[in-house]
């Protein structure tokens, strides 16, 4: 008898336990595990920027995550995604442009997994429910960093170190790719808003990450082209360390490089990816759809500037804050067609290549209301106009 009662009690307990578990399941958020795919590792400023954001966002949301570093832009990316899915990840994120095709390939095969890709361009035309692009309006950050550069140049002119004609900036770019062009142009326009006579010379390395080439390129700009301030869009410490050796001021990217240039580093703009990561984790937890094309802004906390270093001119922060407020209010536009010319004339119309195709066919009118609408028709930059005042040293456009 006692045994029967005991077994009945136990059975009741088990049922209650199961019900409790079910109930909690119902109210609980969907489980999330994020798999990240990076082109390089923490030695690249670009990838490090993603690595720190991934850690921050996942720890904050309390979700599991797995990193896969040094994944080339080939089938290895697809395989990395598959392995991450096998490990239980239900969000896959890749950080390099060349990963895109392989991410799409995986996305088609695994419709239940969300695929998010930074800097990509194809999500809005691919029509896959589980494939998404993301980027940030980093051109605004570059513009603000350009203001810091302009102030530095102005101080040099005022002190008599250089003449206005000698106000030549140098820029080390990776590829003649819209993201890079948009970046250096906005940087230049930021500087120009302070020193109207400034000019800039750009050289390309043909690689996202090549420390020797980037150093060499910076040295060439400093020694042969007489550039008095350098900025870069390439991911190693090459340019910042060359600037430090030559004692030439440097405006950096992807986060502070002050350690490499304690006497020359001025300021750095970067995309803070944590808000995006928090967003996608949140959407999956809630069971809601992720934007096909997500653009982070100053307002979302995606576009950030570091505090100006001791090498920056006094009052830099105030000037930046002022411009930042105007950008947010919509009274200032980075690519305002009144602030630059193309072949001596004002730009009134420009068809940008927004929808990716093999032949880079321009398809969308980007100039409206007196400014170029960057990052509005898709998140990844498409501003690729060559404006006056910027000389490209070594690249022919196709």
């Amino acid at each position: 008898m006692f045994k029967k009662v005991l077994s009945l009690c136990l059975a009741a307990l088990m049922i209650a336990g199961c019900l409790a578990a079910f109930a909690s399941c119902g109210s609980k958020k969907h489980a999330v595990k994020v798999g990240f795919i990076y082109l390089h590792d923490e030695n690249s400023t670009y990838d490090n920027n993603f690595l720190t954001a991934a850690k921050e966002a996942c720890e904050k949301a309390g979700v599991e995550y797995v990193n896969k570093v040094n994944i080339p832009e080939g089938n290895e990316c697809y395989e990395a995604a598959v392995e991450l899915i096998e490990d239980g990840c239900n969000i896959i994120f890749a950080d390099s442009f060349g990963h895109e095709d392989y991410m799409i390939q995986a996305a088609k095969e695994y419709p239940k997994v969300e695929f998010c890709h930074a800097t990509g361009t194809k999500a809005h035309t691919e029509n896959l429910a589980n494939y998404h692009n993301a980027f940030a309006s980093i051109y605004e950050g570059r513009y603000l960093a350009g203001i810091a550069a302009g102030l530095k140049l102005k101080a040099m002119i005022d002190a008599g170190t250089i003449t206005t004609e000698q106000a030549v900036m140098g820029y080390v770019g990776a590829y003649t790719y819209a993201e890079v062009i948009s970046g250096y142009t906005s940087f230049y326009l930021g500087a120009k808003s302070i020193v109207p006579q400034v000019t800039m010379k750009v050289t390309f390395t043909g690689s996202w990450y090549d420390e020797a080439k980037e150093r060499e390129a910076a040295n060439k700009l400093i020694n042969d082209e007489h550039c008095v301030l350098i900025s870069q869009h390439a991911d190693s410490m090459g340019a910042p360390s060359a600037c430090e050796t030559a004692r030439v001021p440097n405006v950096s990217y992807n986060g502070s490089t002050e350690s490499a240039g304690p006497n020359t580093y001025i300021i750095s703009s970067r995309i803070n990816w944590a808000p995006y990561f928090e967003y996608i984790i949140g959407q999956v937890q809630k069971g809601e759809a992720i934007d096909t094309d997500w653009t982070g802004t100053i307002a979302t906390g995606s576009v950030e500037l570091t505090t100006p270093s001791k090498n920056a001119v006094e009052g830099t922060q105030a000037k930046i804050d002022e411009a930042k407020a105007k950008l947010q209010a919509g009274t200032l536009h980075v690519f305002d067609t009144d602030t630059f010319t193309v072949k001596g004339a004002k730009l009134t119309t420009y068809k940008a290549d927004v929808d990716t195709d093999k032949d880079f066919t321009p398809d969308t009118e980007a100039i409206k209301d007196g400014y170029f609408h960057e990052s509005e028709y898709r998140s990844a930059p498409y501003f690729d106009v060559q404006i006056d005042g910027i000389t490209l040293l070594d690249v022919n456009f196709g």
């Binding site: 590792d41 923490e42 797995v66 990193n67 896969k68 570093v69 040094n70 080339p72 832009e73 080939g74 089938n75 395989e79 598959v82 392995e83 096998e86 442009f97 060349g98 895109e100 095709d101 392989y102 799409i104 390939q105 990776a174 590829y175 003649t176 790719y177 819209a178 043909g206 690689s207 996202w208 290549d353 880079f360 690729d384 022919n396 456009f397 196709g398």
Partner: protein
């Protein structure tokens, strides 16, 4: 003591000169001072013993790995071993990827084999594979929509093989005609093709980021058909190549000629082998197999090409060859071992969030022990004993 034995006794003293306390005493083995450590060439070791030494080396390397890991990373070494195994055996698809990577590495090593047997140090496999891959991709790009896919695949195969062979023949011609240094020449050819590919991608995709992306992604023209999964067909093709290469080297007249040219060019000339012809023919074969591998990487795997397509496997294959002492059957094992370790290394990096280089350090340790143990298979070490006689047995 016979003359034969004396010669053997002298040999180790040359290999370990620092132990050579009394050089003149060498001729009079009976009287000379017996060194504390005495290294002698072994008679051939029974295979059980040789494999016993190898197994011991692997075990030792695991212990060493554990100690270094505990000191440097404070990780539990058994967790690390677990990750290494999981990287390849956790699921069926991972196991297939291990087999595929092994097959590709093996194919490149097989390509190097005849050249190395001929003592032609072909360091240019990386470039020869790239040349094959590049030629295949060009076919996909330019005639992909003009001819049916099966025909396109054949054209790609032919183009890949031809390009690989051409890339190997250029240094071979210079070697055969003018006796140039093949090591430097083949090495240089790697950089030439890398630059050509880099420049071509930037010319074809001027507004891109130096990547080609997947070619014919929607039409799949020129894509190797799937058998079961993406890997099986490539693995089977390479298995056939392995068997053919084994037969070629072992049973064919060509294989014999390669052997003779490798042993001594003068002997080869004396017995009427046209050395220049053998060099050209062998290098063309070497390059053709590299080109075939390039085709497989393009048509069956990447569907694209970049300077990273081969990813250093052209150099790793050299190690595969040497580790296996130029035996095609052992080469299967050595390439399997290397791929297994590499996969484990990257798994450790991602699971423990340690820099990927640390995984490579671990791989290096295992290889160090495996290569090092060959010394103990080739030589035996005697420590000085009380009775002098025993030291010479």
């Amino acid at each position: 003591m016979s003359e034969e034995n004396k010669r053997q006794d002298d040999l180790p003293e040359e290999t370990a000169p620092e132990k050579n306390a009394a050089p003149e005493a060498g001729r009079h083995a009976e009287k000379h001072h017996v060194p504390l450590i005495h290294i002698a060439k072994r008679e051939t070791l029974p295979w059980q013993k040789a494999w016993g030494i190898r197994a011991a080396a692997i075990l030792l390397s695991l212990v060493f790995m554990a100690v270094v890991s505990i000191v440097l990373t404070k990780e539990n070494p058994f967790r690390l071993y677990g990750y290494i195994f999981q990287a390849s055996f956790k699921s069926g698809s991972r196991f297939f990827r291990l087999l595929y990577e092994t097959a590709i590495l093996l194919a490149i090593a097989l390509a190097l084999l005849p050249a190395f047997r001929m003592r032609f140090w072909n360091i240019g496999a990386e470039g020869q594979v790239l040349a094959g891959a590049f030629a295949s991709v060009l076919c996909m790009l330019f005639i992909g929509d003009k001819i049916p896919s099966f025909l396109l695949i054949l054209v790609m195969l032919a183009a890949g093989v031809a390009a690989g062979a051409l890339w190997a023949l250029i240094p071979a011609v210079f070697k055969a005609k003018w006796g140039t240094n093949e090591t430097l020449f083949t090495l240089m050819m790697n950089y030439v093709i890398i630059c050509i590919i880099d420049a071509s991608i930037q010319a074809l995709f001027p507004k891109g980021t130096g990547t080609m992306g997947i070619v014919n992604g929607s039409s799949h023209a020129g894509w190797l058909p799937k058998i079961g999964n993406n890997y099986l067909l490539s693995i089977l093709i390479i298995a056939v190549v392995t068997a053919l290469m084994y037969a070629y080297m072992r049973y064919s007249k060509h294989g014999y000629e390669i052997q003779v040219v490798g042993e001594s060019r003068n002997t080869a000339r004396y017995i009427g082998i046209n050395v220049g012809k053998v060099i050209l023919r062998t290098m063309a074969l070497s390059g053709a197999i590299c080109g075939l591998t390039g085709f497989l990487l393009t048509s069956g795997y990447n569907h694209s090409v970049s300077t990273n397509t081969v990813g250093g496997r052209g150099f790793t294959a050299i190690m595969v060859c040497w580790l296996a002492k130029f035996n095609p059957v052992f080469m299967i094992l050595t390439s399997l071992l290397i791929c297994f370790l590499q996969r484990g290394a990257s798994e450790i990096a991602s699971r423990c969030q340690i820099n990927a280089s640390y995984g490579d350090v671990l791989t290096g340790m295992v290889l160090f022990f495996i290569i090092g143990c060959e010394f103990f298979i080739q030589y035996e070490i005697h420590f000085r004993k009380k009775e002098r006689e025993t030291a010479h047995d």
